[in-house]
């Protein structure tokens, strides 16, 4: 017991040091149980601007909704949306984005945090985000703070062509650039496993250049194929979701955090008869069998928990309590600043007019 | 004063006056062909206004004239605000007068020079030799070319500071012909301060002043050093006046870096609008070298026996390739072309050049209006027209050079040669 106490005290002082150095050591048992996977991140990107691309925003929000529902917190979801559809003046139902004409699911929800939006959605910001080379002073919520234990889901949607994906109609990222960015992530130990999902025309061309390990990739269409949208909402006047994501959401809605669904099942989503395009899958970089990987490895944040029945004795360090005599004035209901004789500046340059 | 010159002065002055009091004067002033960020009257007024209110006009983005123009304009606008357009007309007419006397001096000099060499000329070349009557006619043509050139009229009505530039340049030509070295160099330094590019004119000027001296190279070097000294001194004076060096970047820097991409008749604006950021510096410096020293030495070596011709060519070069060209500057170099009347028989593109000038001068403002006001054209249309306009100026320039060389060849080899033979460069 005594040794434990001493250890605790030592740790208490060492703790700030361990904070400073970056290599995060994890309890060995914890690591063993999770097979190297300790946390989940999601990067969800809509690259299209303009009202007629409503469906792309609905796509990305569908995935956002699912990963959030399955337990990835907002702080670990990087959501990039190039246009504001929910509060767009053309949206007859403000602050909503529906995946379905029957308004089944408001994928936008009441609790949403968009990290990069509007003009901030650029190729530069996207690549900086993935590779971690963000500019000085970038807010924490805009960084992908992954580590070697992170499973990362990358979802992209927008307008693409063979070997590129357009960002906001003004620039594009090529499949080679994307593959290099991901390789950089791997070399910097920024992911453990990566699930890459893309819903655009000729989507499969975007993952063809990947050469880094531990990537499972799925695309809504093969090279030479278009990805098609699902249906129009006459009240909105444009197509509201793409086929592949529509069926992916339908599948994910049935998944619960404790479900036993596997990635293998997810890869069979949207067969050609409903999707019209062929869903492309690339698994040569992925060493595991997708059928044995739970879907929550990428879409959820299910962590191994170790339960202990032992009592752990932790002695509390003493902190001086502040006495009330230190307080000049007790703030309470109905107090005013004039009680405290606080002086304020004149708000208007009256002396200018004299 | 020459009677016919007087008549033309009165007539062209009247034309300028009537246009400037007409309702069109404002829209002429606003045209991008007339007013550029470098010479617009509105910007001059803004600069003077800021200066008079104790704000340094050079920290802003509007004003890019040199401090001397600022002070002069401040004086004029404060004291003669109601007579500004008359002052501009007067200045323009004075410019024509100096062009007249300047070109007269040059014609005389050309004629004298020719008399020394005439014995070496081939027979039957009288037609292309300078003639005694030219001494009277050519200056008049030059003055006419300035007075009645629609470009210079529009420039004067638009009240651009190019009117002042032209005055300085014409005075400089006059000083050159009268061999007033110091005056000539001061004027050149002043114009360099305003427009930056004319510094290359120091080469023909140094050549011209060294023609009668014994140690030519030393003389030339001294001239260039003297010019550099005067230029530095002027800038220092400007610094004392403004008590800050900020004007350097706001005038020369503004010209060299082509910061304002407002459409004009030159090549720079659309080129640097569409340029990729990582190539911008490279092309910027390439273009500025192209305008200034790229052609300077080859042309100097080729035309060194006639510094005045070199001056004409360099003036037109810097006008065509400057970052903010305007039609006022074009009018000035065009008024020097009649000097080379005896060269003109060898010019072969006159028709094409004149036609394109005419067509583009009409088409330019039209497509600009369609783009900016009618929303039925875009930048490419105007860019196309300015490209053709520049091309026609380049044709004029190269044609003139080639004609000069041909004339020189014919003077020594005779004008009549076999029809199956042809002059070509080898």
């Amino acid at each position: 017991m005594d040794i434990k106490l001493i250890l605790q005290v030592i740790l208490f002082f060492v703790y700030p040091l361990t904070c400073l150095c970056n290599d995060i050591e994890l309890p060995t048992k914890y690591v063993e149980n999770s097979a190297g996977h300790t946390n989940n991140w999601a990067v969800l990107v809509d690259t299209s601007r303009f009202w007629f691309n409503y469906r792309h925003v609905a796509n990305v929000l569908s995935i956002y909704r699912s990963v959030k529902r399955l337990g990835i917190p907002d702080s670990q979801i990087i959501l990039m949306i190039a246009e504001d559809m929910a509060c767009n003046p053309r949206n007859p139902r403000p602050a909503t984005v529906f995946n379905n004409v029957n308004q089944n699911i408001n994928v936008y929800g009441d609790d949403v945090e968009v990290d990069y939006r509007g003009y901030e959605v650029t190729v530069e910001n996207f690549v900086r985000l993935l590779t971690g080379r963000v500019q000085n002073g970038t807010a924490r919520s805009k960084k992908l703070l992954t580590d070697p234990g992170s499973n990362v889901l990358i979802y992209l949607t927008g307008h693409g062509g063979e070997g590129f994906l357009k960002f906001q109609d003004s620039e594009e990222i090529t499949s080679q650039e994307l593959a290099d960015a991901i390789e950089q992530m791997w070399q910097k130990q920024r992911y453990h496993e990566l699930f890459f999902m893309i819903d655009t025309c000729q989507a499969a061309s975007m993952y063809e250049k990947f050469y880094s390990p531990n990537i499972l990739a799925v695309a809504s269409s093969l090279v030479g194929e278009d990805s098609l949208s699902h249906h129009v909402d006459p009240a909105i006047g444009v197509y509201i979701i793409d086929r592949y994501t529509y069926y992916a959401l339908e599948f994910l809605e049935k998944v619960q955090p404790n479900s036993k669904s596997t990635m293998g099942e997810f890869l069979t989503v949207c067969p050609k008869r409903v999707c019209i395009s062929t869903v492309g899958i690339r698994r040569d970089l992925y060493p595991k069998d997708p059928n044995s990987v739970p879907i929550t490895n990428f879409f959820g944040s299910v962590r191994p928990i170790e339960i202990t029945s032992q009592v752990v004795n932790v002695s509390l360090p003493l902190i001086m309590e502040e006495t009330e005599s230190d307080v000049v004035v007790k703030l309470q209901k109905g107090f005013t600043y004039s009680d405290l004789k606080i002086k304020f500046n004149e708000q208007f340059p009256t002396n200018l007019f004299k | 004063m020459n009677k016919r010159l007087l008549y033309s002065l009165v007539l062209s002055g009247a034309i300028r006056y009537f246009i400037s009091i007409s309702k069109y004067s404002k829209s002429i002033e606003n045209h991008v062909e007339v007013s550029t960020p470098l010479n617009s009257f509105k910007r001059l007024k803004e600069g003077v206004f800021l200066y008079n209110n104790g704000i340094d006009p050079y920290i802003g983005d509007i004003f890019h004239e040199n401090p001397f123009i600022l002070i002069t304009a401040s004086f004029l606008l404060n004291n003669f605000a109601d007579f500004i357009s008359l002052i501009f007309i007067f200045v323009d007419l004075v410019t024509a007068v100096f062009i007249f006397y300047g070109t007269k001096g040059i014609s005389k000099k050309n004629f004298k020079k020719q008399q020394l060499e005439v014995s070496t000329y081939a027979e039957g070349t009288e037609e292309i030799q300078f003639n005694e009557s030219d001494i009277n006619n050519v200056p008049f043509y030059c003055a006419l070319a300035y007075l009645f050139n629609p470009y210079s009229i529009l420039n004067c009505v638009g009240q651009t500071t190019t009117v002042w530039s032209n005055l300085i340049l014409s005075l400089m030509v006059y000083a050159l012909s009268k061999e007033l070295k110091l005056l000539c160099l001061i004027l050149l330094a002043l114009e360099t301060q305003r427009n930056f590019y004319p510094f290359i004119l120091i080469v023909p000027i140094a050549l011209a002043f060294s023609e009668n001296s014994k140690s030519k190279n030393i003389n030339r070097l001294m001239t260039i050093l003297l010019f550099a000294g005067i230029f530095g001194g002027l800038n220092y004076l400007a610094f004392i006046q403004m008590s800050s060096w900020k004007f350097i970047d706001s005038t020369y820097g503004f010209i060299i870096h082509c910061r304002d991409l407002t459409p004009n008749i030159g090549l720079f604006w659309y080129f640097f609008t569409e340029m990729f950021d990582h190539f911008r510096q490279l092309f910027l410096y390439t273009f500025q070298l192209n305008t200034t020293i790229l052609y300077l030495f080859p042309l100097t070596l080729t035309f060194k026996e006639s510094p005045e011709f070199l001056l004409t060519i360099l003036l037109s070069l810097i006008t065509i390739f400057s970052s903010y060209p305007c039609i006022g500057a074009i009018a000035f170099y065009m008024s020097l072309i009649p000097l080379w009347k005896r060269v003109s028989p060898f010019m072969s593109h006159n028709f094409i050049v004149m036609t394109t000038f005419l067509v583009t001068s009409i088409l330019g403002p039209t497509v600009y209006h369609l783009w900016m006001y009618a929303n039925s054209a875009n930048a490419n249309f105007y860019f196309g027209v300015t490209l053709v306009f520049s091309t026609s100026q380049i044709f004029l320039l190269t044609d003139l050079c080639f004609a000069y060389l041909k004339r020189k060849f014919c003077l020594s080899h005779g004008v009549s040669f076999d029809k199956t033979m042809k002059l070509s460069l080898e």
Binding site: E25, R93 | E46, L50, L261, C401
Partner: protein, 568 residues
């Protein structure tokens, strides 16, 4: 071993929050006021006041105040922070003055501590806006040196910091393009100490907020020093929501809280010390259900306002009445209210056709019976070059003189145009303040992806001192709660209003042309280079004409003739 370490972290953080005695209060207020033409204004104010010691540790250990906010004060050396995110237009002429005026889109201004150098402020300002961008999910990362100004006359610190006034310590930026939606409301709510489903916050449902005609979210935090050395201070954080609901959407002029927000109020926030609703019932022609428990009459500056007060803390409803739902019923419509326009209001618009030259006009009307002194602040982006000499202040055809002008000219890609004009506007007149500008041409990579949508010019800010409090609802500077503005008669009332943001359409290049333009322009240069190079490096010689080098026309002629010759 590692497990223990994790445990320790939790324990340490628990310790610090619990052990400390916290001297802070939290109040929530809701002001409801009917506006003309079937509009209703609702104004929420959540106020947290916290007494702290200005040493570093204190700012890290907050209780009711969000630590995200106190950390901003700690890391960026600021003493005052104002952020607003608004959409829509507040129509001063018809609606009077808002409690808290805000420019269209996002607006941000901050006072820094005066021990910082200008270089440090520059850095802190950019980093602060980045932090806010993450905190509020807004594009504050677009706040740069190029769109930042330091207002000279228009803004004064509302904090008290015992130092002389110096406008070089304020930074102001506006992003008029910014949209505001649930993604901003969500993090905004998280800064409050209450549960989102509890107290007034439960009324803030995105679907209802964003179908209003005007909505504005605000965060206003200031530090107030209690003693001379400022070792003891109060951090006051006001989070505001200002909404204008269009009753036509609810089918008629009768309304209730449930109609406006989709649900009734389920009680007060448990940590609040006061939780009150004030319903403006001045000259009411309607019945209220339930009736207010308390009627307050506020007299200030010659105007009298009556409020019905509901103390939510004391609400003792049961069953179906447990939810507070104030409803306006039985509108009589007997009286058509004739409302006087407020003493001051403004309109702003663009003049001129085409994309070459334009004019920005501010029409400012003084409907009061005496002169009003005011300062107009304009913040034009660098791509809107203005001509100061064209600045005109006109009453009809008569020009009036400005009392003072502060102008910092802008510079392309570096600095915005900052203009402040102070002048006195005569009684019962409209002053037209106009200034000319040029539309300029940008580099093609500088245009936004939707270049043809146009670019926005931020709202102008008009500040004045009103001699009367007609339509005046703002809080006095020394007040923190709305209730303190009741009966707050002063000799004059500081007012700040914002005008419309403007949209200008800059001329655009053809974005698909770069390669073509580069090739074509270089070709023209080559047209000069080629001949000049030949002329200067080669000699003229007489040569025999070659048949092959005939002109095109010659060739054509030859061909034609030859063809004719053949049959012969």
């Amino acid at each position: 071993m590692k497990k223990i370490e994790f445990l320790l972290i939790i324990v340490i953080s628990l310790n610090l929050t619990n052990a400390k005695y916290h001297n802070n209060v939290f109040s929530e207020e809701l002001v409801i006021k009917e506006l003309n033409n079937n509009f209703v204004n609702t104004y929420f104010q959540f106020t947290t006041q916290w007494n702290f010691k200005t040493n570093e540790n204190d700012l890290l250990h907050t209780d009711l105040l969000s630590r995200s906010i106190s950390e901003l004060f700690l890391h960026y050396d600021i003493i005052e922070l104002h952020v607003t995110l608004s959409n829509g237009l507040w129509k001063h002429e018809f609606w009077g003055f808002p409690v808290d005026s805000s420019g269209s889109g996002a607006e941000l201004y901050v006072w820094f501590k005066n021990h910082l150098s200008q270089e440090e402020i520059k850095r802190q300002w950019i980093e602060l806006s980045e932090a806010l961008s993450g905190l509020l999910c807004a594009s504050f990362s677009f706040v740069e040196e190029t769109n930042t100004i330091s207002p000279h006359y228009s803004y004064r610190p509302t904090s008290s910091w015992n130092v002389p006034l110096n406008s070089s310590f304020i930074r102001y930026a506006a992003l008029p393009r910014e949209v505001v939606c649930t993604e901003n409301l969500t993090p905004w709510k998280k800064l409050l100490p209450c549960d989102p489903q509890e107290g007034f916050m439960s009324l803030l449902n995105a679907q209802y907020i964003y179908s209003t005609n005007f909505h504005s979210l605000g965060i206003h935090v200031r530090q107030l020093c209690i003693d001379k050395t400022c070792s003891n201070a109060i951090l006051e954080s006001k989070q505001t929501v200002n909404l204008v609901h269009d009753l036509k959407l609810f089918g008629g002029s009768e309304w209730s809280i449930r109609k406006l927000f989709g649900q009734g109020l389920n009680g007060a926030c448990s940590v609040s010390s006061s939780s009150k609703i004030y319903l403006d019932i001045t000259d009411k022609d309607f019945e209220i259900s339930p009736k207010p428990l308390n009627i307050i009459t506020s007299k200030k500056g010659g105007s009298e306002t009556t409020y019905g007060e509901y103390d939510v803390k004391k609400w003792t409803g049961t069953g179906i009445n447990k939810m507070i739902n104030i409803a306006i019923v039985n509108k009589k419509h007997k009286t058509i209210p004739i409302t006087n326009p407020p003493p001051l209001f403004a309109k702003r618009f663009l003049q001129g056709t085409g994309k070459e030259r334009g004019k920005i006009v501010n029409q400012i009307t003084n409907s009061h019976w005496s002169n009003l002194n005011l300062v107009v602040m304009e913040n034009f982006p660098w791509f809107v070059p203005i001509y100061l000499h064209t600045l005109k202040l006109r009453v009809g055809n008569k020009e009036i003189k400005a009392t003072a002008i502060k102008y910092i000219p802008g510079e392309q890609r570096k600095r915005a145009y900052h203009l402040e004009v102070a002048f006195s506007i005569p009684a019962k007149t409209t002053v037209e303040m106009s200034i000319e500008f040029d539309y300029i041409f940008l580099r093609w990579q500088e245009y936004p992806p939707d270049a043809n949508h146009g670019q926005y010019i931020p709202s102008s800010v008009i500040s004045t001192m009103l001699p009367i409090a007609l339509n005046y609802t703002s809080l006095p500077i020394e007040a923190s709660l709305y209730v303190e503005s009741f009966n707050a008669t002063r000799s004059s009332y500081f007012l700040r209003i914002h005008t419309e943001a403007l949209l200008i359409n800059l001329p655009t290049p053809d974005f698909s042309m770069p390669y073509n333009v580069i090739c074509l322009a270089c070709t023209v240069v080559a047209l000069a280079f080629g001949p000049l190079h030949n002329m200067t490096t080669k000699r003229l010689v007489l040569q025999k004409k070659e048949e092959a080098k005939k002109t095109f026309l010659g060739k054509l002629k030859d061909k034609l003739f030859k063809k004719k010759e053949k049959p012969e």
